[in-house]
Symmetry: C2
Subunit: 382 residues, 2 copies
């Protein structure tokens, strides 16, 4: 099996993540923060160490600003619905995932908010900023965008948008589902107020946790309330972090796996990871761009930075058919819309979606070569 | 270590759960429903088999009515906020967890809803029903209660309440956090419209998933929207189950572990599990009730049924102190309020909470004996 669907979830995980998982569920698996005995306190310490690890990795204000959710989508919903009030205006980019556009659309239909979509120019950051600036209104409360598209790997100019938000008193929310663990993210330097992450993509944890890191400056209107192990006689949710945003039992094994994944990334080096994946994508791009029957959607040589994702289509064939043919040869890629209506609207791929190839640090050049040759050899059969 | 905090999370898990976990994260760990290649489809099949398993176990209408959340608290919030509209009235019992009272209170403070609390008579189901009936108003839309108290193990008369709801056209929601896997729950027979469960308590899965099983009759107002892998070009969330309630990547390993836990319960027998735990509690109760310096809160001999939970206090000592002393002897119990303001109000334990002992199927009589003797021997030292 050649697994090239790492944008959906990374596979395999680093061996440390597998081995720690077993230790974690046998040793660090009491309910944290709910008991005063050793295993409960040890589990709480372990969870806190993941908060510290994330704080350091993303240069966040403090471990208490790290809240754990079910997944990145829940993190995005928690901040959007926690911050926005009736009458607010929001801007998002034209390459957002449905985890952004669906809650925004829901809130718009409720007549709560309005939103506009700014145009990302993938080859020109200043053009992106210029379009964005033109769409800011007096009532613009919040700008949300992904760090990079989950369909095409295109990157939004996060640092510049953050600076703009800072200057204009606008809250800045970043969905880093496809970049955390690959691209450098510095919350303070990039003026990010809320950072949303999944456990199981390039942070190399298992599926089952998301992370919402805040700057600690906002009290959110919670979408979920419940037991927090704190202030328990109060019928109302605590208003302090992280308890405010963490109701019920945490996803302990998944959270612990984030720590193990982060340690793998630190040991390996973020640059090493990015460069490996970048080279694979550039090589893949070079080879695929020589095939006439393929349609590609960006000139990767001209992109200053990107997430390791490449979408393509085979002329005269649906993306589903193409992916199914690759699957027959043991190559795992994803076809269709990848939960991003916006990106396909932008790239005129609404009819059939795309075939998406997304390597991880564990993908080898040999696997990419096999994939390329399988595509080439099969083209006639296609 | 003697682990007696199974109401917080069961420990250990059955050995099948540990061994399957490793297989699951290595073999069934693609993103389910997001890809057309073998591992993604295998993972989707595995998740679907857990839906089927739960459907059968709780006699639910169909696997599609099984939605997975982060935890039981999220399941409760999803249904309360998904169903209730401005002006609705809700009834809940006086032994609810904060996962019920906090969202209700939040909605009350927003002037959305009103709620009242009915009185549970732990020795007389008919008295409970009588109190409940007296509090039903024309605008009562929904009744929610736990199957059993997480502090005292007291059981609500679910079947009778379900019948009452059915007769009065009231939606019935059950929080089975402390009973699923111990007491028999039959959604159809008990007229339960929504059943909320955690993965990691007596269903013996790992922490990280909750379950909301619905009767399939209601379209909920979602609290979270995002990518569902379905109808992806639509800016709005699908309105069908389970996609409507499952945004973003599922907690795959935790969900898979529910299946392994359920299989353990089926193999062992629900009655065998309940009887073992019941006997431990009755024995513990008998022994502890002979100690003058202890305060107990129910006559377990007179309870027709209960969840395996016993709360007590040592006269002249806070629950935290008592639990800390037991922890020094390697006994893991939980002290304090256990996230249930209501239960402590009812039982006059608001000052100090309680020490809670909660065995699982893996708890032995020897461990209970050691716990009893430790309490007895240490009383003077206490």
């Amino acid at each position: 099996m050649i697994y090239l669907d790492n944008s959906a979830t990374t596979f395999p995980k680093p061996k440390e993540v597998y081995s720690s998982l077993v230790t974690n569920v046998r040793r660090y698996s009491a309910n944290p923060g709910r008991g005063g005995y050793e295993m409960s306190m040890d589990t709480a310490d372990k969870i806190y160490s993941v908060r510290e690890n994330l704080t350091d990795f993303f240069n966040a204000p403090s471990p208490d600003c790290v809240s754990f959710t079910l997944n990145c989508t829940y993190a995005v919903n928690t901040v959007l619905k926690g911050i926005l009030k009736r009458g607010d205006h929001v801007l998002c980019s034209d390459i957002e995932h449905n985890c952004v556009i669906r809650p925004l659309e829901k809130m718009r239909l409720n007549a709560d908010i309005t939103y506009d979509i700014f145009k990302t120019d993938i080859y020109n950051e200043n053009a992106t900023i210029s379009d964005l600036v033109g769409k800011i209104k007096p009532e613009t409360k919040l700008i949300i965008c992904n760090n990079s598209s989950n369909v095409f790997g295109f990157v939004n100019p996060i640092e510049k948008i953050g600076k703009l938000c800072k200057e204009n008193g606008i809250i800045f929310v970043v969905d880093a589902a496809q970049s955390a663990g690959v691209l450098k993210i510095d919350m303070r330097q990039m003026h990010i107020n809320f950072l949303c992450l999944p456990s199981h993509k390039s942070l190399y944890g298992i599926m089952g946790a998301g992370v919402l890191i805040s700057d600690g400056l906002f009290t959110l209107n919670t979408i979920v309330e419940g037991g927090t192990g704190s202030d328990s006689l109060n019928y109302s949710q605590p208003s302090y972090l992280p308890d405010m945003l963490e109701s019920g039992t945490l996803a302990v094994p998944a959270i612990e796996s984030i720590g193990d994944g982060l340690n793998f990334i630190r040991k390996t080096g973020l640059d090493t990871i990015f460069n490996h994946e970048r080279e694979l994508i550039l090589y893949l791009y070079k080879e695929l761009s020589e095939i006439d029957a393929l349609k590609l959607y960006a000139d990767y040589d001209k992109l200053s930075v990107f997430s390791p994702i490449l979408s393509f289509n085979i002329n005269g064939m649906s993306s589903e058919e193409a992916a199914a043919k690759l699957a027959q040869k043991g190559i795992c890629v994803r076809a269709g819309y990848h939960c991003s209506a916006l990106a396909h609207t932008k790239m005129n791929t609404l009819k059939d979606g795309t075939v998406r190839i997304s390597p991880s640090f564990f993908t080898t050049k040999k696997e990419i070569n096999y994939t390329i040759s399988t595509i080439k050899k099969s083209l006639s059969a296609f």
